[in-house]
Amino acid sequence: MPETAVEVAKERATAKKTLIGQRIPKLDGPEKARGLARYMEDLKLPRMLYGKILFASRPHARIVSIDTSAARALRGVRAVLTAADIELVPFGFGRDNTALKKDKVTCVRDEVAAVAADTPQIAAEAVQRISVTYEDLPVVTSTEEALAAGAPIIHAHVPDNTPFRYDYSHGDVAQGLRESAVIVEDTYCLQRQAHCCLGTSGIIASFDADGRLTLYSVTQVPFLYKHDLAAVVGLPPEMIRVIQPPIGGGFGSKLDIHPFEPICVFLARATARPVRLVFSRDEEFRATPTRQPMVIHLKSGARQDGTFTFRDVHMTLDNGGHTSWGATTPWVSMRTFSSLYRVPHVRQHVDVIYTNNIYACAFRGYGNPQATFALESQVDRLAEELGMDPLAIRLKNAHEPGETTAQGMVLSTCGLKECLETAAGAAGWKQKRSAFSGQRSASNRQSPIVRGIGMAALFHVGGGAKIYRSDGCGTILKLDDFGGVTILTGSSEIGQGSETVIAQIVAEELGLPIKNIRVVNNDTDLTPWDVGVHASRTTFIAGNSALRAAREARRKLLGAAAARLKRDPAELDLSAGNVVDRSSGQPLESIGKIIRGLHFGRVKNELIMTTEFYEPPSSPPDEQHRGNISPCYAFGTHVAEVEVDLETGVVKVLRITAAHDVGRVINRLGIEGQVEGGIAQGIGYCLLEELKLDGGRILNPTFTDYKLCTTTDLPELDVSFVETHDPAGPFGAKGIGESPMIPVAAAIANAVYNATGVRFTELPLTPERVLNKLKEARGLGD
């Protein structure tokens, strides 16, 4: 072949249209756009009853007696349950929660009784007719009260009200102190943020004739759920099937089993009928856990040249009346304190303390937004003390690819410096920073509006976190006779677009149009095991699992094609539904025909079905919390530009410039959506959102009083992706789910400081809080 022709062919081969990095609309988009997706609240089974829970509505009380007779007497009521009617098996991370509460309640959301009735109206009426006699106990509304001498004991087995303590350290903080030219110290208070999934929580429990339990559930972790729930409801796990209908948002809220779930199972068992229990918005606010509130005392230092020396962290967590995953979020905070930038000496102590407040669970970022807020606020303070630019001090201390952090995390790829430079460059950091710094000193300033710019970076796991002995995901792939593919994946979809990414990966590998790929991801009877949607793991782990299953199918297809076409498999490729000549790209045979040739062969008959269980090359942490818990790590930088009205205290975010090290973009449309959505949650966390308590009672359980970002809060966005091509990632990709939420609040608070000269250590930055502190600062300054 002439040289030019070879080059033409090569060019054609490399120019093969790749799906990776394209903008692929979400596969379930049309169904959702037409209103045809059937969420939990849309599902009904024949003879289904409606469940309803009676909550305690008082924060700390002994249950003296419960009279259910009036409820039972109501026509249409099929079951009324209290703790006396069920076996109480403790569950949750602290094993301190039960489905219904027996002797006492320890927070307002405690579940006391439950009803199943013919209609939701009857169920609601019945719940009101249940009469509970309580004897109120002294209420512990803060961690200080919980630790005071003679404080009421909330759970008898924890007399000091401190169920968990964690310690981590590397290096020697005393030495770090000695080596420091500057030292800064602050206490940061981070509030309760509610997930506010638009679809409220719910479940349907239905027993089959053979005693098997089918759960229609919104869980994010169907296989762990099956296991954990089985123990609580007294069934072998293999007797439980979990089916997930489309889920109206997760963000971590559905990572644990919650009391309403076993309660619904008990109601179904008591009535021998299917029971559905779906929360109202009020119940969703009151009876689902929040982001973990934290008080973080942080002290840190640097040498004169800006090199970080030490961090000393003390965290206090209000654990509320029971324990869900919130109590474990410091495990993630810890990794940011130890490993966002190089720092030789770190010590972290955490106390998790029972109170009679509501409790917290997982929420996007899992303790990292809190840690990043404290740390990145303090990095700016160190820079200021040293007269350094915040960008320069971050670049100076940033890790390089190939380093292992002091906590044992191996940075196979690390785009932190590139993220810092990309975001700063795109945001016009240098010019704006000096322009905005000038405005405060301008004595002739007419307008009450000042502008500021601030940045924050982030460090997070990029491919799951091996908290369990396995962090894997299974895939079953089958090809039909026509080139259609069904992927059964263990991974769950909660809106993030995993089904589209998985289909894209498989379509790319098999040279098939994406419309040929079906993804089944919501039925534990069909799909192989997966640990669940959390820790930004699905693209990486489920993606790798699907990719490997597809590679094996590809190998079989090419082998069959080579035999049929009497060619070497190495000379063949798959593209646009065809087997093609690898060098010329010329179609030789349709993939469907190759499959049918195998299936209906004259000599032997075969189907192409492959399986894969992908276990990432990560390891569980040791007892000192060290170890490479993720196969790769995610980095990013956000730059926020804000406007602060000095007269009203209103902070407006004008622009967020984000750069994320995502390894490689798989679905550009989807990944932009993850970043944009994370930014909005971050803005809400920083400026608007707080579920407020008073005396253990919730003050604002409505969207009227709990403010979320709306379209008019949407700032200008500039999102860039730094592609570091992680060697272990599918096509080089890392996870993105949580990262974009993490640095937002810190970046905004740093921008507010730049604008006003006042540093905020408490969120949210409501106009009231901002105005008060500005006044206070002026008072002191004048």
């Binding site: 944009e676 959505g677 966005l717």
Partner: protein, 163 residues
């Protein structure tokens, strides 16, 4: 039984079809659409008119159907998300939401699309500010709104002002 008042007859038009049924006097339009007519595309998000997931058109005006008593709709025309694609073909608004990545969990989507429909009927060439104001009553927890606003702007007459 608790005191349940007698049901009252209601006649109105839903997605172009005449409908006649007996409803409880206290039933909301959302309840009648979802429970009696099995039009579950309209979602319950809060029940107090704050989230917009239940938005439908009532005589051409966008309303939160959780705040409207069904009996108030006697003789009215109601258009729900199901009415936008009666033949199964996506309506251009639905198509734009899909193509622009304006849908993640999708729970807010029907309400967003109905609010968009009302906006474009009233103002076929909205600016970005118009779009933001028109959708201010519709909460979305997933997307951060950028792609929703882009989807709507792509439908604006006289060319999209893509931000």
């Amino acid at each position: 039984m608790p005191n349940v008042p007698e049901k009252v007859e209601l006649a109105f038009t839903v997605n172009g079809e005449a409908v006649r049924l007996a409803v409880a006097p206290g039933a909301t339009l959302l309840e009648v659409l979802r429970e009696d007519l099995e039009l579950t595309g309209s979602k319950y998000g809060c029940g107090e008119g704050e989230c917009g997931a239940c938005a439908v058109l009532l005589d051409g005006q966008v309303v939160n159907s959780c705040l409207v008593l069904a009996l108030e709709c006697a003789g009215s025309q109601v258009l729900t998300i199901e009415g936008l694609s009666p033949t199964g073909q996506l309506h251009p608004i639905q198509q734009a939401f899909v193509e622009h990545g304006a849908i993640q969990c999708g729970f807010c989507t029907p309400g967003m699309i109905m609010a968009t429909y009302a906006l474009l009927e009233a103002n076929p060439a909205p600016t970005e500010d118009d779009v933001k104001r028109a959708l201010e009553g519709n909460l979305c927890r997933c997307t951060g709104y950028r792609k929703i606003v882009d989807a709507v702007l792509s439908l604006a007459q006289g060319g999209a002002r893509h931000a």
